[in-house]
Amino acid sequence: MDSEDDMHDANDVDSYEEDYYSGDAMYSDDDDDAGYEFLHNDSDDSDDVLISRQQKNFTILKEDDIRQRQEDDITRICSVLSVSRDSACMLLRRYNWNVSNVHEAWFANEDKVRKAVGLLDKTTYKPTKARELPCGICFESYLLDKISTAACGHPFCNTCWTAYISTSINDGPGCLTLRCPIPSCGAAVGVDMVNMLTSDEDKTKYQRYLLRSYIEDNRKTKWCPAPGCDCAIEFDLGSGSYDVTCHCSYSFCWNCTEEAHRPVDCETVSKWIMKNSAESENMNWILANSKPCPKCKRPIEKNQGCMHMTCNPPCKYEFCWLCLGQWSDHGERTGGFYACNRYESAKQEGAYDESERRREMAKNSLERYTHYYERWATNQSSRQKALADLHQMQTVHLAKLSEKQCQPETQLKFIIEAWLQIVECRRVLKWTYAYGYYLPEQELAKRQFFEYLQGEAEAGLERLHQCAEKELNTYLNEDGSQDEFNNFRTKLAGLTSVTRNYFENLVRALENGLADVDAHGASSKTSSSKNAAGTSKAKGTKGKGSIRGRTDDSTGWSCDQCTYMNSKNATSCQMCHNSR
């Protein structure tokens, strides 16, 4: 059993990038980098909880790993049961590649297992004295050297064997349980016969099926569903979150194999996906990536990730892609300074009446779904865009920026980290809209709490995305001063950290079913002195602080460093501790 454990260790090394949330993944390489110091101060003890919960509960298997494991399992059965590799292979397949199940069944009743798998004892077969034998398929007689038999001894000529096995291989994975052609016989035809009698092409196909069976028939392994990826994931059953990330960087849910959807559960995801396909025709227009500018009516294309749109000159009207409202109007009404996630408030304001299209939709009672679907889909495409930007950053821009700013690329890691955070947050945010759609309307307190957390997270993400997308551009294209760039570094790293905290809060809250809603409801009404007394749970403090800032944003102040809206009586920023 040693070899299996060794393999886990070997894989641990190169799969560290899986956990965006685990903290240590982000800062694994250069902990002593000055730029990150305040991030460490900033983090509270909840990070430790997350790290322990996020302990890797899966292993990525590349094709070579899979072959090696399969070989090892076969060898193990061979030596314990004293059977051929051919037989070991068939036994393992029969018992879904579970070594201990094979052992158990074999030692409980060897005869029964042999019968079920078609493994005859060679000793039951008496060799013939005849010089020639008739083939059971073509009915011609052949000299013995042209005849082959499985363990049962039924004779078929080699040509017929080849055709028989080849037909079965080309019929599909059923070839792995091929039996002697004599219907009443049942003797297994295994990999030895295949190797002896078929073409190289068929041998390869057979090996392919054997490898697939090793993953697909095993309860603990699944293929990565990303197109073109040959890796498989072994999952430790019964061990928390199902989200796994493959070497190819695709993240998916091991349980339902949809793309990763933490913190939303599989049932909600499958309902949502069904709903989407039922509504897909109605929704096509939403996915269109151009909308008329609400002011000048010229079509404007969304080619950037964040929702803040600016119309072409001379109009230059700034608006929100989601609600087409004026950008500067975005505040408490829409769920936050940068956020636009509240369906109810948008509806009350009559924002939806502006478009005739939407009026039609309302008639069909699709309005509510449309709201959630549009946000879900937009975050999806925004994430795709961010992935592309991240790639561009890694392959082109980072080197360019390094030259321009005379900084080694290792010092620019904060940019990559920002983009990784954006990609991950877009994914989480996207799924929270599916969650929101199914959150019962009558659970008002939960809804409010959810929309509050979602709004906070979304606002943080929009600030981060905008900063990474637009502000960074200025440093790519013109030489800013060293000081300016260092400010930018602090700001982007700060936003990354802030956003990460918001999303951790959101993920945690959804994963425990918004159970903290009562604590939240109470604290948002109590005075600040009570919060300061520190009686409430540590993980809630940030969220509570920001409520005060939010409810009073006419008199609050926006932090220069991270743009966080602080309450008017705060002397330093509650997010990044920058003094006013």
């Binding site: 059971g136 073509c138 009915f139 011609e140 040509t159 028989y164 037909t167 059923g174 052609p181 219907p183």
Partner: protein, 157 residues
């Protein structure tokens, strides 16, 4: 193509030689096409098909015997696993349980066995399948007998 023809020719010679070996089955190869056969089979005794003679049509694919022949009843028969209109037969050995060791002769034997032991759980004829599944054996038998008399027995002139 060559292999299937050779194999069918072997079966043909075997049928000629063993004409009287199985009196319940009479296999005949088409005069001009070795891939087309017909068979006359006798309804098994102690079944509603007793006394009837049923005609089967075989269409043999070029991949024979690696692929099974297509067989259907030309004679109307009331049987849960035979389509009443087309005569298609639902029998595992004619599908995924086919083995190249089967012959046209052994397929006929398997069909006779199916006539004696219907499988009401995979019906091609729902009426007869339902009769059997609901336990109305007598109802099933009288229908089957009637069709045997109407379609599978020589008309008394």
């Amino acid at each position: 193509m060559q292999a299937s023809r050779a194999r069918l020719f072997k079966e043909y010679k075997e049928v000629q030689r063993e004409k009287s070996a199985d009196p319940d089955i009479q296999l005949v190869c088409d005069d001009s096409n070795i891939f087309k056969w017909t068979a006359l089979i006798k309804g098994p005794s102690e079944t509603p098909y007793e006394g009837g003679v049923f005609q089967l049509a075989f269409s043999v694919p070029e991949q024979y015997p690696l692929q099974p022949p297509q067989v259907r009843f030309l004679t109307k028969i009331f049987h849960p696993n035979v389509h009443f209109k087309t005569g298609e037969i639902c029998l595992d050995i004619l599908k995924n349980a086919w083995s190249p060791a089967w012959t046209l002769q052994s397929v006929c034997r398997a069909i006779i066995a199916l006539m004696a032991h219907p499988e009401p759980d995979s019906p091609l004829n729902c009426d007869s399948g339902n009769l059997l599944r609901s336990g109305d054996v007598r109802g099933f038998q009288s229908m089957a007998k009637m069709y045997t008399r109407l379609a599978a027995m020589p008309k008394k002139g």
